[in-house]
């Protein structure tokens, strides 16, 4: 028998044993701190309250809202359809199944955005996909959606559109009646969910 084959086989077996005894990683998808810092730098994890309001109104099923506050606070008020995962119980196995979703996007929120961001950062470290934070938390939600400030008369038209939307949204979520504000003149009172642009018909071949 050729000696070098014996040598090679022995070497490979040794390496194989080495691989087998390597410590298994607790979270196989864990991303390293440098990558995580990169994600922290770009602010894409934040969803605005307007965007979230729109998605709730549209009943977008691909979003899940996770309230990381205590159960007592959750029971007294939360976003419609939100689930409660107190931050201290984030890593319970039942919650992990909920958060590590391949299909749904997870939006964390709390009173501010600090607790929510803590949950986000840990979940991202574990490599979970589609994780977001509601910018400003419920405090900001109250200030923008439930009780939107009236834009200045000199404000750009876009601000008024936003205001209109927020008024409508606040009515949807149980806030004040829409359209009672003095600056609003009648016509544009409904919140219109923009219909998708019709694509032009495909012109045929030849």
């Amino acid at each position: 028998m050729n000696k070098k084959y014996v040598f090679l086989a022995g070497l490979l077996i040794l390496l194989g044993i080495g691989l087998a005894v390597l410590p298994s990683r607790e979270y196989p998808d864990e991303i390293n701190p440098v990558q995580l810092l990169g994600e922290i730098k770009d602010q894409t994890r934040f969803l605005s309250t307007d965007e979230i309001a729109k998605r709730i109104i549209e009943k977008d099923p691909s979003y899940m809202y996770v309230d990381v506050r205590d159960p007592a606070e959750y029971n007294s008020f939360s976003l419609p359809g939100a689930v409660n995962v107190p931050l201290s119980q984030l890593l319970d196995s039942a919650n992990i199944v909920l958060l590590n979703q391949k299909v749904k996007s997870v939006v964390f929120f709390s009173n501010g955005d600090i607790s929510a961001e803590k949950a986000w950062l840990l979940c991202r470290r574990m490599g979970y996909k589609h994780q977001y934070v509601m910018q400003g938390g419920l405090n900001y939600w109250m200030e923008t959606i439930m009780n939107p400030p009236v834009p200045l008369a000199s404000a750009p038209g876009q601000d008024f559109d936003t205001y209109q939307f927020r008024k409508g949204a606040s009515a949807y979520f149980g806030g004040g009646p829409a359209g009672t504000s003095s600056i609003v003149n009648a016509p544009q009172q409904n919140v219109l969910v923009k219909p998708k642009k019709n694509s032009s018909p495909a012109a045929g071949g030849c």
């Binding site: 390496l15 961001e117 938390g137 009780n147 949807y172 009672t180 219909p195």
Partner: protein, 204 residues
């Protein structure tokens, strides 16, 4: 035999040149969660002011804002380590040196949420004495200029509910129940999606 030798040499070279990354997690996710939910790492603004005035060298203030903001104003003795360069070689050395000198790091941004993520990162990669300034630089400035009173606490901690949400929502009635509501009752209308695009005109 040559092939076997080459093979062995390649593997050995591979093992030797495998470098461990400079920055690695020292805490497991569980430990990290426990350490970031304990309230002990918050440095109050009053305490921070005391430290700055006493020029207490046991603390190193780290400003995570951009250099531009840092130049416009910062705490005395603070070091600027912008968030984006947190792990650059130079900055990492500063952090390590501070740890070596047994200093506590105090991170701050404009508000607390700006310093939150870097604070968590530093804790997870093994720095033990890292504090975060409650509120942040903007709030600290307000507090310093206004006579200190207990009401400012509310503005500092972003995680305190500023409103009674349930009352607030309950207090304002739904539009249907408002008598003499001017507009039509249905406020949110979803226009049906237009029928999807025209049939593709076929080939020849």
């Amino acid at each position: 035999m040559v092939a076997a030798g080459l093979f062995a040499i390649l593997i050995i070279i591979g093992l030797l040149t495998m470098r461990k990354p400079a920055v690695r997690y020292k805490l497991t996710v569980k430990e990290a969660l426990a350490s970031v939910t304990s309230p002990g790492d918050q440095l109050s603004i009053d305490k921070a002011n005391e430290i700055i005035q006493a020029k207490n060298s046991e603390y190193l203030f780290i400003d995570v804002r951009t250099p531009y903001e840092f130049i416009k104003g910062h705490f005395d003795s603070a070091v600027n380590i912008p968030l984006s360069n947190l792990f650059s070689e130079e900055n990492y050395k500063v952090l390590k040196q501070a740890e070596h000198d047994k200093k506590s790091l105090v991170l701050y941004g404009n508000d607390q949420s700006q310093a939150n993520a870097p604070w968590m990162l530093l804790k997870q990669i093994g720095f033990t004495k890292v504090l975060i300034l409650s509120g942040g630089y903007a709030v600290a400035n307000v507090v310093r200029s206004v006579v200190a009173d207990s009401t400012h606490e509310k503005g500092i901690d972003a995680e305190i509910a500023r409103y009674n949400y349930a009352e607030m929502v309950k207090g304002i009635s739904k539009p249907e129940q408002v008598p003499g509501s001017i507009s039509n009752p249905q406020k949110v209308t979803t226009t049906p999606k237009p029928k999807s695009s025209a049939p593709a005109a076929g080939g020849c």
